[in-house]
Symmetry: C2
Subunit: 356 residues, 2 copies
DNA sequence: TTGTACGCGTTATCAA
DNA sequence: TTGATAACGCGTACAA
């Protein structure tokens, strides 16, 4: 019965003394129905608590009215916020959202293929599924939007700007006089790759070279581990780095924890920066200097782009890159040009207001 | 075409020179098929890149192989973590997850009814949908698990313990010598009601009475607003409260912000506590004393309970209440019995390790 | 071991 | 204005 109300359109038709075609027309207003007949139908519908079976509708209409989203993980604020923006718009557009988290799951390919069978289009976070599988799905004609990654042929891309803001971050740190840098966060070949690239370019332009990124996970624990490895006396390089640039805020929080463990003061002994501007970044002490991503907007944009592709409003793939904001707080060091007593004056590029 | 590969089971049957019944049997192993025939079928399947239409399968099988989750919001770590635990288990059980966030949406009832047509069962967070609608859905025979709320007849309940831990929290604060308490967070008639109830009981047992909870939203901004209202000189009561117990961590972070705004030191001038133990709670300064909820476990338990109901393993509704942990950190005041130089010794009931 | 035919619940076309 | 009927794509008794 696929748990509906049990009542089918046939039951309604019988009860109203009409044909199923008339019931359908009366209900969706797709064709002429006399007032009298409509009355009878609606009455029968009410009495039987009839709700059209979603399965039947989808089969006949040839669409699911549902979108998918494939993300690597739901822990941490970043993906949840993107999903939030996505669901909000998708729902507004009359589409349900099916989520698939691939975190450490096997059979991801099969799960994604199954998902593809349930939706009219899907958003795929970069680095969650093999490119080959994404291409395969695109090949079936299904609209796909790739999120926070490099473009894939035939799919839309929605990402936030990485290289420029990474440069700006690095330049800001150079302005503090730092010359020994460490990077924390596994190079994922996607978003983070671009960040490291931007950082390296900016540093190189000033004759500074950073060590290879420490390949940790994007979690607080991963950051803590990285922090120990990077900051422990004589661990990786001769001299302890003066600044640790982290691939995301969670790593940065972990690095700060590690610094505490080692008796180092942030930012006095070592500067630490993050990326994303999650809630904890603002409330941590020292508050995190970071790069704010428009997380909800990413999801919302992806939802709209996907809708265009599905409805056929647009047929050629497009790419949109959303701007980010450097948020300077305390963790990168004192900003002498302003009195340290006024906390809000620690912000340079952006006031420390909550994200819109 | 509902965007599959386009190839239907008929095409496969024709190509393999067999009937669709044989194709179906060969593919799902539900009946005898000769090795030779199977070969032919698989060959045709591969050549045509055939994937059974999910719609057809669902229609024929009479099930969606999908579960729903209705939550009020996806912002903030709490709901995302619960969803994570839910999706993880559901996926493991071969079920997709459709999410519906009701945050400030109209037509919630219709959206929930639509969701009901897409799934074999659903988890509903308390206070997201009118009880009448939930009952209506239960009335259709659909398995429902209510999350973090009061029980509803005919539905399972999964919640975390509130009253006892609220008592413990209040008692701990009383132990600090505080006698003037304020509560921040709108009484929602569900989870939070229970917390306020527990707090009040414990305080009353010591002859202390708390003011009415300040009815703010469960966000940092809401907490900040509440903090100002509560802590501003001469605002609500004659004497400023010595402790502000907040309905969740985000509110608590906001209250701390407000205290800073007003030039008050936490915990010296005022103690602040939260609830949930989100990531930011641990990294805030002062670190938040809070009550840790097993967020992922809540989602995971709900998924398993729902599965039991769907598969019929269990037919009578059940309720499970998961234990919580009081996590004592710095925001509730100094703990003189231990040297303040050892940060980890600030924990009484629970070491400040990351949640499992 | 294989094939036929029906059921699942709609929408939509076409004839009346 | 209405009704019969053909899709839509599959699973599966039942017959062969």
């Amino acid at each position: 019965m696929v748990k509906d109300d049990g009542a089918t359109i046939y039951a309604v038709a019988q009860r109203a003394g009409v044909s199923i075609a008339t019931v359908s027309r009366a209900l969706r207003g797709t064709g002429p129905v006399s007032a009298t007949t409509r009355e009878k139908v609606l009455k029968a519908v009410a009495e039987l608590r009839f709700t059209p079976s979603r399965l039947g509708v989808s089969l006949a209409e040839g669409r699911h009215a549902a979108n998918g989203m494939v993300l690597p993980d739901l822990s941490g604020p970043y993906f949840a916020e993107v999903l939030l923006g996505y669901e909000e718009v998708a729902s507004e557009l009359g589409r349900s959202v099916i989520v698939l988290s691939t975190r450490g799951r096997e059979m991801v390919n099969d799960l994604v293929r199954d998902l593809a069978g349930r939706v009219d289009g899907m958003v795929v976070f970069g680095r969650t599924v093999e490119d080959a599988v994404v291409r395969e799905i695109i090949g079936t004609g299904m609209p796909v939007v790739v999120l926070a990654s490099d473009a894939i042929d035939g799919a839309d891309l929605v990402a936030s700007e990485n290289v420029e803001s990474a440069r700006a971050l690095a330049v800001h740190l150079l302005g503090h006089g730092h010359t020994r840098f460490a990077l924390a966060g596994r190079d994922d070949g996607g978003d983070v790759s671009q960040r490291w690239q931007g950082v390296r370019q900016a540093l190189a332009a000033h004759g500074v070279e950073a060590a290879e990124p420490y390949p940790c996970e994007y979690t607080v624990e991963g950051g803590q581990e990285a922090g120990h490895a990077i900051l422990r006396p004589g661990s990786r390089s001769a001299a302890r780095p003066q600044a640790v640039i982290c691939a995301d805020d969670q790593i940065a929080l972990g690095v700060i924890l590690a610094a505490e463990d080692l008796g180092l003061a942030v930012p006095h002994d070592v500067a630490v920066t993050g990326w994303d501007d999650i809630m904890a970044a603002r409330h941590a002490r020292p508050a995190l200097t970071t790069v704010r991503q428009p997380m909800r907007a990413l999801g919302a944009r992806a939802a709209r782009a996907l809708d265009e592709l599905i409805t056929g409003t647009r047929t050629t793939p497009a790419a949109q890159v959303l701007p980010t904001t450097l948020v300077v707080r305390a963790s990168c060091g004192p900003h002498p040009q302003t009195p340290p007593t006024a906390p809000s004056s620690q912000e340079e590029m952006c006031r420390d207001t909550p994200p819109a």
